[in-house]
């Protein structure tokens, strides 16, 4: 385990990213990439700073982040419960598995009108879409996690004469934890994608909507500022979850 400072690969990675951004900046400044198409990263950053400072989109940002938080929490909890249930029913699972595998090809957004009627026109329809998109990742990770519990640990539990509930809590859960966390990470990523994409295509609020709106109205500065915001939020959240994930893996996986 490394503490403080970067590994050699970490430095190279940083250098690659910085070089990419600088090259991008240079290409824009030299006019190779026309300004009507894309702005130099530095201008995106100043635009984002300006947007945050004026608070023009604060309500949208809050609404998006809130929806993402609710959607991830819901899909993690529901996905975990469903994963356990499906794992307990091998026949159901065998039948369901090919469906789960092709699930992501179906654009969940199609069901927006259905959700609108079921949940009313509010964030809840967007949250429902995001949950629909992310829950499968959690279910799949729960199944993998439960599958990967070493048989010997179950045997050990039997040696200690544990009941089903105790075993689930003291053995199964911690043993499956690394996979479950991977599921949490994925569920968050998909919830984020789901919320932003729903806003982008369907709704009248949120960061996604504002990006689409800015695109339609040729407000490239706003559009790229908001894009940068999404990229930063997604990358930072992913990096944090990934670090925790790696820690867990290195400690718990054998």
């Amino acid at each position: 385990m490394k503490r403080g400072g970067l590994t050699r690969e970490g430095w190279i990675r940083l250098a690659v990213v910085v070089a990419f951004v600088l090259a991008f900046e240079l290409l824009c400044r030299l006019g190779v990439l026309p300004r009507t198409v894309v702005l130099p990263p530095s201008e995106m950053a100043t635009s984002l700073w300006h947007l945050l400072e004026t608070g023009e989109f604060t309500a949208d940002i809050v609404s998006t982040l809130q929806d993402v938080a609710i959607a991830s929490a819901l899909s993690i909890a529901l996905g975990f419960a469903l994963g356990i249930a499906i794992h307990a029913l091998p026949r159901l699972r065998a039948t369901l598995e090919p469906l789960l595998a092709s699930y992501y090809a179906i654009p969940t957004f199609m069901f927006y009108p259905v959700f609108i009627v079921v949940f009313g026109v509010s964030d809840r329809a967007i949250i429902a879409i995001a949950v629909l998109l992310s829950i499968v990742a959690m279910i799949a990770s729960t199944l993998t996690g439960l599958d990967r519990i070493p048989r010997v640990l179950r045997k050990t539990a039997a040696i200690y004469r544990m009941g089903l509930a105790r075993r689930a809590l003291l053995i199964d859960l911690p043993a499956a934890a690394p996979h479950l966390f991977t599921g949490i990470k994925l569920a968050f990523a998909y919830a984020f994608i789901g919320v932003i994409a729903s806003e982008f295509i369907l709704s009248g609020q949120g960061i996604g909507y504002q990006i689409a709106y800015a695109y339609n109205n040729f407000e490239n500065r706003k559009m790229y500022g908001l894009m940068l915001l999404v990229i930063i939020v997604a990358t930072v959240a992913n990096a944090v979850l990934d670090t925790i994930d790696r820690r867990l893996q290195s400690r718990l996986r054998r």
Binding site: P150, L153, K155, I159, R161, R251, R253
Partner: protein
């Protein structure tokens, strides 16, 4: 000589001893998808005496682990009876500890918490837990790694953790399923020494399953040789080693004779196994 099932055991004389665990006519048949059954084990008769070190060797797939599962109460015999301390084995009996071949340490607990796990489950009070855990950790040479997680340890160290975890519960019968299978030869020898020390100090009955003849010969009072599947005992070899022994016994003139006899019996069975393979 009561353990030999087909009269192949040699006429070693044994004073009548106190039976600790007993198998009578035990067989194990696994149901197959086709509807037929896979006859994995038996029939087996076995008397394990109080305080003895008994090893089981046999060709791979002969049902050694199944035998252990029956004794541990992890799987009931299809036929026959199994008793421990005169009570029929129904579920995991109290007083039995098991160490598996696979690493069974809990990766989410520190070494210390791993060792204390069983005691906490049993509701032993903390002062007693501390005492026993300290002892076991010291005994297994884990003092420097108390706070470490299994992922930070070598395979040998992790197996020590599992042994310590079994040890603290002060089992009267310790079942070991090829516990050193994944370790290198030097480590195995040294772990064997520790196992002997543990056996002497606790006075527990030990049943060790192994595929290594030298390990069986070096550690045990008696070695049971099993046939190819369905496994049964074709020979039981007494070693007559002193109770106070260690791995240096391998240089004893009698050691070669014991391993030679084990191999003689096992070779035939192993050849059968290879011959039956496609």
């Amino acid at each position: 000589m009561t353990a030999a099932s087909d009269g192949a055991a040699s006429g070693v004389e044994i004073a009548p001893r106190d039976v600790h665990a007993q198998l009578r006519g035990v067989t194990r048949v696994f149901p197959l998808a086709s509807g037929a059954g896979l006859h994995a084990l038996g029939p087996i008769d076995l008397d394990l005496y109080h305080g003895e070190f008994f090893a089981v060797v046999g060709p791979s797939g002969c049902g050694k682990s199944t035998l252990l599962d029956v004794l541990a109460g992890l799987s009931p015999p299809t036929d026959g009876t199994a008793t421990f301390e005169d009570k029929p084995i129904d579920g995991v009996p109290d007083g039995v500890g098991v160490v598996f071949q696979e690493d069974a340490s809990f990766p989410w607990l520190t070494v210390r918490d791993n060792v204390a796990f069983g005691l906490r489950r049993a509701g032993v009070d903390e002062a007693e837990i501390k005492k026993r855990v300290d002892y076991a950790i010291g005994f297994m040479g884990l003092r420097d790694f108390e706070r470490a997680y299994p992922a930070q340890l070598s395979g040998g160290m992790r197996q020590r953790v599992c042994i310590a975890r079994t040890l603290v519960l002060q089992p009267r019968l310790i079942l070991l399923d090829e516990p050193f299978g994944a370790l290198d030869q030097q480590t195995r020898l040294l772990m064997g020494d520790e196992l002997l020390r543990l056996w002497r100090e606790t006075g527990a009955t030990v049943l060790l399953i192994t595929h290594a003849l030298d390990e069986a010969a070096m550690l045990s009072d008696r070695v049971g040789v099993m046939s190819a599947r369905p496994g049964r005992f074709i020979d039981i070899v007494e070693t007559h080693w002193p109770r106070d022994r260690d791995s240096r016994i391998v240089s004893d003139p009698g050691f070669g004779a014991v391993t030679a006899r084990l191999w003689e019996k096992l070779r035939v069975e192993s050849l059968k196994l290879m011959g039956t393979r496609p």
